[in-house]
């Protein structure tokens, strides 16, 4: 038989929908949560507990739920979903968790009887030996039993991220949040209200406490307020959105469920992660009711009193028509009134407060309605088979009696929900009146309003808000709030009740999520864990996904009593984000796959694609690695073909990714002399020079070619990956070390597309393409450049080469680049011109002995180490890194130096990264270190020499020329015998280069 329905509830529709729980179909209403739907069907047993596999039901009606965690099968098996907040929809398929083979018969519940071994500190005391058991037995076992639900089967891209910048963020759309919002309507402040429910109103819709506001029903007042807000020009509302994180600088994270109450559409973002930056944060996120520890306080049927009332008022379901109510405070009378309004009657009302402290109105109301009343009494415990059947009451005379009941509603008072406040680094203080911590000093621009600030008096709310928001210079708002309960809040301290009836099954829990009992707390303190942070970790108390929202203050209360200290002296544990669990998928955002990292393409990219280029990622750039001539051509074959053809005829490389910096100003020459090791003073205009840039430590930082237009105007190239670093390095020195220099820099990397064309036939091709330019050696010698008009633009051509062949670098505007590239190919066809990629570029430069920054160098290499002494301007007064080159370590003669290496057996191939050693074989088991001379930095098979050529950085390399050494391999212990040679393998006389 379905549970009684509160037909006055306006928040759940009459539309019936079908849901499935553990394979069985049930009927629910549109607007229900899983919990309200199951309660509507009188389902009380929802899951099994984490450690002892005890039967568990629905304890709360919100985010604080420790028990009712379920798995949503039709949402990619989403585990650990809180049944108390997840809205149902037609066809939702839900399973209970942590049970086998079924929810009602769970083999794991044997743990409950083994509980003496699972006491506090179980993990710290167990699994100490024997040696070897950890890896093979303990860890796999623990991993298998850990957790509640099963992980999702597939990763799904769930969320997108949305940034907001607002003046004021109001967290919580309850009574306090709405009063604050009403005050801010049509002001100059941009305001965002974030509400975790699908309706505004908070306590107004969740309880029967407030009767009328300004003479209107609470439903009408909320509706009117929402309308005013939506019509305002400055306030936005986000519903179904939970603020999870409060970071520094008023940066908050909130998660919006876009499919609350709807079947997810896998083509759309299910969640939106809002990143909110605000000037002021108003926390109006209310309070959370806490429970009381008593014997078997975890039985299905035990529920927090305010949650029971919320099910009646918010979801229109009466979970039980005659529950027993157990309280230590004045708030629970509104639940009694809600029940009486529906012609239901509590089975008993047990109040631990002294009779004289209990409000006369409460006593009269209970008496008038003939409700059994137990003042100065408490619940000793409850019993039943997987549900509450009997409640044991310890009366004021200490006698224990029992009554039959199927639900027990308990209320241990309220905690201001200070989680977000403390995340913001705000300080809290203990309040004896409400017996809880409340916000004290804000660390950021944070204001707390209403019950989160410890103010439980509705009548005082407007005053508090007017006062706290007065700095915003907005009009005061005074509302006439009519209540169904007394305005003042009264409570007596009660954390746990004494257990009379002990058994192996009986337990009094302090943390329902992690199955921590009050006995565990006491044991931990006896074992010396008397600091609250230690105690928390030792017992795992409040470390569950609910973060102990309904119980953490209770544990402080119990601990303070044992330690005979005040709770304020015991202190709190640290609240850390997130406020409630959110999935990694939500944080990660939508899976953008190919958009994950920005990609950069050169203006010739589409040509490369059409011509079967295989791309290599160089930073964010997509560079052609090699071009496939035919489908089955391997990279090795392609590279051998491209490099051979370049040396025989001509090859062209898209070098657009090279960094380019324009340097100009009256002090440009001096600046360049300081930035680079080379001397530029005597360099003629319109010539270029290969240059090295060092860090202050004297190590090679970057290289490039410097074009000198005149003494006041230079263009420098950098490596592709080094461009931003070099540019900011130059700017930093200009702005901090040499601000007196009149020099300006512009990055022009993207403004010029660059082609490197080289090979013996290059001159013929260039002469055909640029038929008005004289490319002869006399008029266009090596390391000179020309700038000339070409069509509607300008072209800069520099005679330079990175292959060792006759070569030119062409710089042209990106708009005209593709056209020129195609024209070069048109003319190059007659000369067997080939396009080549970065791999061939590396092979060609290695044949010539040219170094690559980042391959031969690694941040520990000086120019002298790679025999670039000739690049250091000896007569220069200074340059960055100069002084470091004379340090004893950098000037050491036996540093690793660049050499060439060839295998003695020319059929053998040397791998990059392998070690250069003196021994022929490595021992099969290395007991003492093998002396290591250095490593192979580059290695290729040269098609032009028909054997492997390698470059290596080895200790004292210059003195080892001609010596036989060995290089390790990735397979086996036999090393490859090699000879140390000059690293220039082809054309050491530079005949090709200057031809």
């Amino acid at each position: 038989m379905p549970a009684l329905r509160n037909k006055n509830c306006n928040y759940v529709s009459n539309k019936e929908i079908n849901i499935t729980f553990d394979g069985k179909s049930y009927s629910a209403y549109d607007g229900d949560t899983i919990a309200s739907a199951l309660l509507r069907n009188n389902i009380r047993l929802i899951g099994r507990s984490f450690k002892y596999h005890r039967p568990r039901g629905i304890y709360t009606c919100g985010i604080e739920e420790p028990n009712a965690l379920v798995q949503i099968l039709n949402e990619h098996n989403e585990p650990n979903t809180r049944a108390t907040i997840k809205k149902v929809y037609e066809g939702i398929n839900i399973n209970s968790q942590n049970r086998w083979p079924s929810l009602s018969f769970d083999v794991g519940s044997i743990n409950n009887f083994l509980s003496p071994i699972f006491s506090a500190g179980f993990y710290y005391k167990t699994f100490m030996g024997p040696k070897g058991f950890w890896k093979k037995i303990y860890e796999p076992l623990i991993r298998r039993t850990a957790g509640l639900g099963k992980p999702p089967k597939n990763f799904r891209s769930k969320s997108i991220h949305q940034n907001h910048n607002v003046d004021i963020l109001i967290v919580g759309g309850g009574l306090s949040g709405l009063i604050a919002a009403r005050k801010l309507i049509n002001t100059d402040n941009e305001v965002l209200i974030v509400e975790q429910d699908s309706f505004l109103g908070g306590i107004l819709k969740n309880s029967n406490k407030v009767k009328k506001i300004d003479g209107k029903s609470v439903f009408d007042w909320v509706k009117e307020t929402e309308k005013l807000i939506l019509e305002s020009k400055n306030i936005k509302i986000l519903k179904n959105t939970l603020v999870t994180t409060y970071n520094f600088t008023n940066h908050l994270i909130a998660l919006e469920d876009k499919f609350a109450g709807k079947d997810i559409d896998t083509n759309k973002a299910e969640l939106i992660l809002h990143k909110i930056r605000t000037t002021q944060t108003i926390l109006a996120n209310g309070h959370i009711e806490r429970f009381i520890s008593f014997r078997n306080n975890d039985l299905p049927g035990v529920m927090l009193a305010s949650s029971f009332e919320k099910y009646i008022e918010r979801y229109g379901v009466v979970p039980d028509e005659k529950p027993v109510i157990f309280t230590n405070n004045s708030s629970t009378i509104s639940l009694v009134k809600s029940l009486i309004n529906l012609n239901c009657k509590p089975g008993a009302y047990i109040d631990s407060r002294k009779k004289k402290d209990i409000e006369d109105e409460t006593k009269d109301y209970l008496s008038k309605n003939n409700i059994p009343f137990y003042p100065e009494s408490e619940v000793e415990g409850c019993e039943g088979n997987k549900k509450v059947e009997k409640v044991y009451i310890r009366s004021s005379n200490k006698e224990i009696s029992s009554i039959n009941a199927s639900m027990l509603c308990s209320s241990g008072g309220f905690n201001p929900d200070i989680h977000l406040f403390t995340q913001s680094k705000g300080l809290v203080k203990w309040d004896d009146k409400i017996i809880s911590f409340k916000p004290d000093t804000a660390f950021q621009n944070t204001i707390t309003l209403g019950s989160v600030s410890g103010n439980y008096e509705f009548k005082n709310l407007c005053n508090e808000i007017n006062k706290k928001l007065s700095f915003l210079k907005v009009n005061d708002l005074n509302l006439d709030i009519e209540l169904n309960i007394r305005n003042d809040f009264s409570i007596s301290e009660l954390w746990e009740t004494k257990i009379n009836k002990t058994s192996k099954w009986a337990k009094s829990f302090i943390d329902l999520h992690n199955d921590v009992t009050t006995k565990d707390l006491k044991q931990a303190i006896n074992e010396g864990y008397d600091r609250i942070e230690h105690l928390k970790r030792y017992t795992t108390n409040s470390m569950g996904t609910d973060q102990g929202k309904i119980s953490s203050i209770n544990s402080l209360g119990i601990v303070s009593k044992i330690l005979k200290k005040k709770i304020s002296e015991v202190g709190t544990t640290t609240y850390r984000p997130p406020y409630a669990p959110l999935s990694f998928a939500a944080i990660a955002g939508r899976s953008t796959y190919e958009y994950y990292d920005p990609e950069r393409k050169t203006p010739i990219h589409n040509w490369h694609t059409k011509n079967n280029a295989v791309f290599e990622d160089v930073g964010q750039w997509k560079r052609p690695w090699y071009y496939k001539k035919y489908e089955t051509e391997t990279m090795h074959q392609a590279v051998q073909r491209e490099s051979k053809q370049t040396r025989d005829t001509a090859g062209i490389l898209d070098g657009s990714t090279l960094g380019k910096i324009e340097i100009k100003g009256n002090d440009a020459l001096e600046f360049m002399n300081l930035m680079y090791t080379n001397a530029f003073t005597k360099m003629k205009p319109m010539t270029s020079r290969y240059a090295l840039m060092l860090g202050e430590d004297g190590m090679i930082m970057d290289d490039g070619i410097i074009c000198k237009i005149n003494d006041k105007h230079f263009i420098a190239t950098t490596t592709s990956g080094g461009a931003p670093k070099v540019f900011s390095h130059m700017e930093e020195f200009l702005q901090t070390e040499w601000p007196h220099f009149q020099v300006y820099l512009n990055s022009i990397t993207e403004q010029f597309t660059t082609f490197n064309i080289s090979g013996p036939k290059t001159r013929e091709i260039m002469s055909k393409v640029f038929n008005k330019i004289d490319f002869s050696n006399q008029s266009f010698p090596f390391m000179t450049f020309k700038i000339f008009d070409y069509k509607n633009t300008q072209v800069r051509i520099m005679r330079a080469s990175f292959t060792g062949e006759l070569g030119y670098e062409i710089y042209i505007s990106p708009k005209h680049a593709l056209e020129l590239w195609e024209l070069i190919f048109k003319h190059g066809k007659d000369f067997n011109l080939v396009s080549y990629g970065t791999e061939t570029m590396h092979l060609l430069r290695a044949e010539k002995g040219y170094v690559v920054i980042g391959q031969e160098t690694d941040g520990t290499v000086t120019p002298i180490d790679i025999n670039f002494n000739w690049m250091i301007g000896k007569k220069k007064k200074d340059f960055i890194g100069k002084r470091s080159l004379t340090r004893s370590d950098t000037a050491r003669k036996d540093r690793k130096q660049l050499v060439g290496i060839v295998p003695l057996d020319k059929s053998q191939f040397i791998e990059e990264g392998q070690h250069v050693v003196e021994c022929e074989n490595l021992p099969s088991k290395i007991k003492t270190p093998v002396e290591y001379l250095g490593h192979v930095s580059s290695s290729y098979h040269s098609p032009n020499l028909n054997h492997c050529i390698s470059m290596a950085m080895i200790k004292n390399g210059n003195k080892l020329m001609g010596k036989k050494l060995f290089v390790s391999t990735s397979k086996g212990t036999k090393n490859i015998p090699v000879e140390v040679v000059n690293p220039v393998f082809i054309d050491p006389e530079n005949k090709r280069l200057v031809s």
Binding site: N165, Y595, K601, P603, K664, G665, Q742, Y744, T749, Q751
Partner: protein
């Protein structure tokens, strides 16, 4: 001009603008040189824009200005202008015409749309009309220029495809 997308109160067009990046000291002679060429004194306040039918000139930082032409000029004239500016040793002008791409973003939901790709505060009170900023949009370094009813966003040309794909991808999520 190419339409990239138009939906849900967001319109994005790619524009064929041209651009010159100028560096100088912003003092009288610099202003006179610029004024002689473009008949506008460059803005003196950081991140400020001056605009007319032909172009905008924005002060990017204490010694850097951007000149963007709204209509495609004869490229030779641009290069000639750059050459003229560079004849003054205290100025560095670089051609940025085709190394950059330009997007015009308008529509009532443009801020919300862009705020899915950037955390930048686009509110008028923080990012007023006729001002500019340099920020990350879709993880790309962009310049954004604010007008009454639209933004002009520029980024390096190498990111063109990526940036357009991100915009379209985002639009498809709506």
């Amino acid at each position: 001009m190419t339409k990239i997308l138009s939906l849900n109160g967001v319109n994005i067009y790619q524009k064929n603008f041209q651009q010159i990046l100028v560096r100088g000291d912003g003092k009288d002679q610099f202003n006179q040189t610029m004024n002689r060429e473009i008949s506008v004194i460059p803005p003196s306040k950081n991140l400020e824009i001056k605009v007319n039918d032909q172009f905008l000139i924005a002060k990017n930082s204490f010694d850097q200005w951007t000149l963007i032409y709204f209509f495609e000029q004869d490229y030779k004239e641009i290069l000639k202008f750059i050459s003229k500016l560079n004849s003054d040793d205290r100025i560095l002008a670089s051609d940025y015409s085709y190394g950059q791409v330009y997007f015009e973003i308008s529509g009532k939901n443009k801020d919300e749309f862009l705020n899915k790709l950037t955390q930048f505060d686009l509110r008028k009170k923080r990012f007023s009309d006729l001002s500019m900023a340099q920020t990350l949009i879709a993880r790309i370094d962009c310049y954004i220029y604010s007008f009454n009813d639209k933004y002009i966003v520029t980024c390096n040309r190498s990111y063109e495809d990526y940036f357009k794909e991100r915009l379209i991808d985002l639009a498809n999520l709506h």
